[in-house]
Amino acid sequence: MMTGQFEPDEEYKRRMRARNIVVGLLLGGFAVLLFAITIVRMKESL
């Protein structure tokens, strides 16, 4: 339960660590995609 009670630290830290990893991977992938789009568009405009 999101609103339920739990003993702190372990579960909280595990979830936040997992979320940070997922967000980091997504942002990294997004940056790579934007870079690739920029390269493609630059080549098309040449």
């Binding site: 339960m1 999101m2 609103t3 003993e7 702190p8 909280y12 995609l33 690739a36 789009i37």
Partner: protein
């Protein structure tokens, strides 16, 4: 957030955010969008094509999250949906809303900047159509919710097509129409065997409002319309013989499976509803295969094999 107290709120798991996007529905959306993109005349750079499909997926995910944010109370009352992150209490409602708005906005913006703005506008329309017109307005008010709301799921092949061509022609509109007319028999077949759940939460699904007999006749009616409509891309010269034969067989079978559904009546709570479940299962397969046939037909045409 401090963790020094004896008890604190547990943050939502990332898997719950993923579940908000309705991944199974998204797979059909991505597939039809990809087929629209691959069947369109013209070429698109693989990176731009990938971006277009990613945007369609993100838009669909965002709309699904907004749908679940709005319907959390309704979902809690149905067995099929009670385990979703919001009704199960694993996530705050505002998190789902913000996630949905963020995903939707990012998908439209990226589509516009990276692909083209016409595709972005149609994507934005599809998100608003699903999250506002269908979820908030139609679904709780009219038994025609699925008919009109079916338009939301019909957008992906149109968006995929426009991502390549940059304009709207008859062919992508026909692809839109095929999914539009496919949606009522698909959902009403499901609604027939989960009828009690919809009735319990007060959603005016066709079997609840118009009754089982009327719904069964309408399923047959839409399947009858779908047969010539699925052949229309061939009639207008937008697809070849491979597609035409596939569409004829697939739509013919769809119609054949809808006949026993139209002719029978539920025998009560113990009825296994096999014809309805069979029709629902086949409807999913139908959409996958007919769009795959369209792409195969286009590929054969490009390769000069036909």
């Amino acid at each position: 957030m401090s963790t020094s107290h004896s008890a604190v709120q547990l943050p939502a798991d990332w898997r719950d955010f993923y579940a908000l996007t309705k991944p199974r529905v998204m797979s059909l959306v991505v597939f039809t969008g990809l087929c629209g993109l691959l069947a369109a005349p013209g070429t698109i750079h693989p990176v731009i094509g990938f971006t277009a499909i990613l945007c369609i997926a993100l838009g669909a995910g965002g709309a699904a999250a907004l749908n679940q944010w709005w319907e959390a109370d309704i979902d809690a009352g149905m067995r099929r949906t009670a385990g979703r992150p919001l009704p199960a209490g694993r996530m705050a409602r505002t998190s789902a809303r913000d996630f949905g708005v963020g995903l939707s906005a990012a998908s439209v913006l990226l589509m516009g900047v990276a692909v083209n703005w016409l595709a972005a506008i149609i994507l934005a329309l599809s998100v608003v159509y699903y999250a506002v017109v269908y979820t908030i307005w139609l679904k709780p008010r009219t038994p025609q919710n699925i008919v009109i709301g079916g338009g939301a799921g019909a957008f992906p092949p149109l968006i995929g097509w426009v991502a390549v061509t940059g304009d709207i022609t008859l062919m992508p509109v026909l692809l839109f129409a095929i999914i539009f007319f496919w949606t009522p028999p698909h959902f009403w077949a499901l609604a027939l065997f989960v009828r009690s759940d919809y009735a319990k939460v007060g959603i005016p699904m066709m079997p609840v409002v118009a009754g089982e007999a009327s719904t069964r006749k309408q399923i047959l009616g839409y399947c009858v319309i779908l047969l010539p409509l699925s052949l229309a891309p061939w009639f207008v010269g937008g697809a070849g013989a491979v597609y035409a034969v596939s569409a004829l067989i697939l739509s013919g079978l769809f119609l054949a499976l809808s006949v026993p559904v139209a002719l029978r009546r539920s025998t009560g709570p113990d009825d296994a509803m096999r014809p309805e479940k069979r029709l629902f299962g086949y409807s999913v397969l139908y959409l996958f295969v007919i769009f795959a046939a369209l792409v195969a037909d286009r590929w054969i045409s490009v390769q000069g094999l036909a």
